[in-house]
């Protein structure tokens, strides 16, 4: 597919008329609607509401619990019985699954600690509890556990002994290369319906991720969770993590924006903004922070100090990227298009040339993910794994095509504001 065709396709999808449904989704992404918000939701819902569109996009944006709660609070009688029933069922299923995940998180933390593995759970149940006050109010399908790099292999053995299957097997040099360049392993258990993600850093080498695991280990905090005192990221680190995690994924989920906004509100008395700005600046994550603040404001008032909000509004690139994320929220795109768009977005969300250069350099030369196509296309003995550095650019060219890659970055840098 050429860049021009791609551009035209996305325009046609985004210009279709679902204006009321999209506004409804944006409003219902928030944790608690204001009175004015409830009145607006009530106005937007009517006999002509396309409920399959609303529910489908709410599921994609992981805001089904919020949609259910907000519709119930704003206009319960106007929601068709079948839709209300589906939302109620999904709310209940999500709550029960999240309780199971919470239990598994506690169990795994205890298991790791009993085996002398320090662990910091983050996102998932802890974030839901902190931000929404209850794990039922957030959709999540995995557990993220940070361990020290030297404990990764041990943690993997423990999870395998617990019946979890790693997403792939690693050995020898490929394993050490993977540990050096990547940031997490995934594990699944048959029938469990969730993923355990063991991290040893917060982003892979080619993301030049600005929140460092070493710093987090040095200054982590604690969070009470149902009678358990668990390690967790301090609020400034968690804030920057959420900002850059969103940027890494092109902010293409409303839940990430809503969660961040709510987090800033719940933690308003605890977030040291001066320190946060200092850390963001020194890590090259200032633009990422500004984008996140601007996006949060799109959903309603925020608890960010006025001077910082003003600084964010004065950052032209941050404004453009925030606008672009909002414009893309309901754009349908295939997987590879979305991945390329996310990558380009993340690259532009980093303000320092040296970080951008590192991202480009390591992206082009990274050793492939063990499940990536590079491995099946070009099988190479472990001892020759260095050759993958050379093969990745060839695979990227083969998969995406030079015109498309060129169009993606040209559109990103030259056709400012027009690129979807």
């Amino acid at each position: 597919m050429s860049g021009i065709r791609l551009f035209a396709m996305e325009i046609s999808v985004s210009s279709s008329n679902r204006i009321a449904e999209r506004e409804l989704l944006r409003l219902c992404a928030t944790c608690h609607l204001t009175e004015a918000g409830k009145a607006r939701v009530n106005d937007l819902v009517g006999p002509e509401t396309d409920w399959s569109y609303v529910v489908d996009w709410a599921a994609r944006h992981r805001i089904l619990p919020q949609l259910h709660r907000n519709l119930k609070a704003a206009c319960e009688a106007k929601v068709p019985a079948g839709v209300a029933e589906d939302l109620h069922r999904s709310y209940f299923l999500n709550a029960s699954q999240n309780l199971r995940l919470s239990g598994e998180m506690i169990r795994l933390v205890q298991l790791f600690e009993a085996n002398a593995i320090d662990v910091i759970p983050f996102k998932g149940p802890l974030l839901a509890e902190k931000v929404y006050g209850t794990v039922s109010a957030r959709q999540f399908g995995d557990l993220d556990l940070l361990v020290r790099p030297e404990d990764v292999v041990k943690a993997r053995r423990l999870l395998v002994a617990e019946g979890y299957t790693p997403e792939f097997a690693l050995e020898g040099k490929i394993e050490s290369e993977y540990l050096r360049s990547e940031h997490a392993f995934q594990f699944q258990k048959e029938g469990a319906g969730f993923v355990i993600e063991v991290h040893w850093r917060f982003g892979s080498r080619d993301q030049a991720f600005p929140v460092s695991a070493e710093d987090v280990w040095r200054r982590h905090g604690r969070q009470q969770f149902h009678g358990h005192n668990l390690r967790t990221l301090v609020q400034e680190d968690l804030l920057l993590y959420l900002c850059m995690h969103g940027a890494k994924h092109g902010w293409d989920r409303l839940e990430w924006i809503s969660c961040l906004r709510e987090f800033m509100s719940v933690e308003r008395a605890n977030i040291a903004w001066v320190e946060t700005l200092k850390r963001a600046r020194s890590a090259g994550a200032l633009r990422g922070l500004y984008i996140a603040i601007l996006l949060a404001e799109e959903l309603g008032e925020t608890d960010v100090p006025e001077d910082i909000r003003m600084e964010a509004r004065l950052d032209r690139q941050a404004c453009q990227l925030a606008r672009r994320a909002m414009d893309r929220l309901f754009v349908d795109a295939d997987h590879s298009t979305r991945e390329l768009a996310r990558h380009a977005y993340y690259l532009r969300s980093r303000e320092r040339a040296r970080d951008q250069a590192r991202i480009v350099l390591f992206s082009c030369s990274r050793v492939p993910h063990p499940l990536a196509k590079d491995w099946s296309l070009f099988r190479i003995p472990a001892s020759m794994s260095f050759l993958y550095y050379l093969l990745r650019p060839l695979r990227l060219l083969r998969e995406y095509g030079l015109p498309r890659i060129r169009a993606m970055f040209r559109a990103d840098t030259i056709q400012e504001g027009k690129y979807l």
Binding site: Y91, N98, V135, H226
Partner: protein, 98 residues
């Protein structure tokens, strides 16, 4: 641990660390991590659950409910005792006599 129906007013009640709970439209759902069984509490039961997230005596719970709801003391006492007994046998709370 008290397992019988008789629970002293000054007995302390704490939530078992093997129980995790979440709010569900005004009610509370609790999962016992050991047994894997879910339990549901109505709004009043949920209120009690939230109240005992910090240690309280049975008398504290009764006083709390008498302030919140219009209910006779004898009925409140009987229902609280029955609920605590059930939750204790299901491994959701610990009740300890002084």
């Amino acid at each position: 641990m008290i397992t019988g129906a008789a629970i002293a007013a000054d007995a302390t009640v704490t939530v078992n660390s093997q129980a995790v709970a979440c709010d569900l439209e005004g009610e509370v759902v609790i999962l016992n991590l050991e047994s894997g069984v879910y339990f549901g509490l109505n709004a009043v039961g949920g209120d009690i659950w939230n109240y005992i997230q910090t240690e309280h005596t049975v008398e504290d719970i009764i006083q709390h409910l008498l302030q919140e709801y219009r209910v006779e003391r004898s009925r409140c006492e009987a229902e609280v005792t029955a609920l605590l007994h059930t939750m204790s046998t299901r491994g959701l709370v610990k009740i300890e006599s002084r």
